[in-house]
Symmetry: C2
Subunit: 311 residues, 2 copies
């Protein structure tokens, strides 16, 4: 079986681990969000791709959900001793090496998709990991604070400000000109089913859907999504701040309507959200909390079973 | 008093610490060798400038003589885990931050002299540290080994091969087009005396002297050098391998003849080399071993006193 999954960071990566466990023989292609990517200290950082790679490759900091296990922060402390900004982004020493290699390969002319493949040669995540695009398309957020109204990089809003300042607009700068990375459309076309994990519907899944060509390709397939919202609150993260910014209610119904019936064929929600509905979409209630490897595998298996049933 | 000193790495940096101690009120400008500079993992590394900066700024690994105190090697181990070459160059985590900043500033268009000044803002070495040139002039070494006759970067010959393969030629690639960094010629012109520490006469001092304009400027000044050779052997390092490559005998006399009387006014040698001589150069014998801070200060004071006497 051929499965395509879109993915953001922590939630998506954990779900994928469940999917790998639930479908051991399947050929899984993951289309990763690169809208969060940022250049820090001259190094290109791809937080979501790395979270997927480290999580599936056994290198993740399990408690934190991002970054490397047994991480140290010597380089970061030294950069701070030199007075280098920004100091709010937690680049660890182990993680640093990944960004150094990526930056060097990009400078040598390799596209991000080939860089990602080279990095995965070490991590062997068990999936084919593709960036949504080799082109630069970065999420920026319009805010108003003491410095006035301005657009900041998504990471500055998310990590430095902890989304405490309301997002007035969320923009994917460069989206119009971006093309899907090589293999993305081909993988979607060849897929038996497509799964949307409970990643952020605005700045993870929503970002990937903005790359021209990806949404139409997905609409032609059987797609099952897993709600990132349970009873009006995000399962994890700050998806509510993102949904509010685009005028969508933080609810399983709100995200279902956002994705729409042209994209979705099935929608997994928590028991307490069982009443949500949309014409043309099969809604099923399941335990959504990925509280253990077993619970995560059960959830992924349920999403997959529903997708197979609907295909 | 205004003093100019040329400097390579470990030996030069230690001598400079003695000079700072011997002449506390003096205004010292150090012209550092950048022929050893190398780009590793996309990062620009300036080993000699950093050795001077760390040594005078209190950040050096004292036992080793290069690199940072309390250093760790997490990034290097991670790069190796990815299979990245070269693995023979010991880039520590603390040191890494320096190179990241330098690389970022160079990419932003700052010349190396301004980058060095910015890095010294943290280290406050007590001297004005200038690179010999803002232009790229890199030392390469022609060798013949199992891979045939070829030119390798100086660091590959020095660090990876430990100078175990004979150097057939030593070339400063880019020397003809290189200009002295801003401030270099002005500092020499304004200097009361110039001191050549016991740095490598070929690939440190000799490299600096190859930058067009520097040697003639020095020849107009009172210059005292300290022999890096005692009784036929280098005080430290592998200067003999470099001297042999350019057909110069490894002796205090050989280096004296190499520098020549147009450049030198005074030459400090060890007691056992007291018989060396060159018309027009005052030779004086002193203890040359920098075996303690006091011995180093004494040596620097002797060089300075001779220079003042001759000026």
């Amino acid at each position: 079986m051929r499965i395509v999954s879109l993915a953001g960071g922590i939630g998506g990566a954990r779900f994928l681990r469940g999917l790998l466990s639930a479908a051991p023989g399947a050929e899984i292609t993951v289309i990763g969000n690169t809208g969060d990517d940022i250049t820090l200290f001259g190094l290109r950082v791809c937080p979501d791709l790395d979270t997927v790679m480290y999580t599936l490759g056994g290198g993740i900091n399990e408690e934190q959900g991002w970054g490397r296990a047994a991480e140290t922060f010597t380089v970061k402390a030294e950069l701070a001793a030199y007075g280098m900004e920004p100091q709010w982004f937690g680049l660890g020493d182990r993680d640093f090496a990944t960004h150094v290699i990526r930056t060097q390969m990009l400078a040598a002319g390799y596209p991000l998709s080939q860089v990602t493949e080279a990095l995965c040669d070490r991590w062997r995540p068990g999936v084919r990991l593709l960036p949504m695009s080799d082109d630069r398309a970065e999420t920026h957020v319009v805010i108003t604070d003491a410095e006035g109204r301005r657009a900041v990089h998504f990471q500055e809003w998310w990590v430095r400000l902890r989304a405490s300042v309301p997002a007035e607009r969320i923009l994917l700068v460069g989206a119009e000109e971006a093309k899907p990375a090589p293999g993305v459309l081909e993988a979607i076309e060849a897929a038996d089913v497509v799964i949307l994990p409970p990643s952020n519907p605005v700045v993870s899944i929503g970002t990937i859907l903005q790359i021209p060509g990806i949404r139409p390709a997905l609409e032609a397939k059987t797609v099952v999504g897993v709600s990132p919202i349970i009873g009006g609150a995000p399962v994890r993260g700050m998806a509510d701040a993102c949904l509010t910014a685009i005028g969508v209610e933080t609810s399983a119904q709100g995200v279902l309507d956002l994705y729409g019936s042209a994209l979705l064929d099935g929608w997994l929600v928590a028991e307490e959200d069982a009443e949500v509905s949309l014409a043309g979409v099969r809604v099923a209630a399941r335990p959504l909390l990925m509280s253990s490897p077993e619970a995560t595998r059960e959830l992924a298996a349920a999403a997959l079973a529903l997708a197979v049933e609907l295909s």
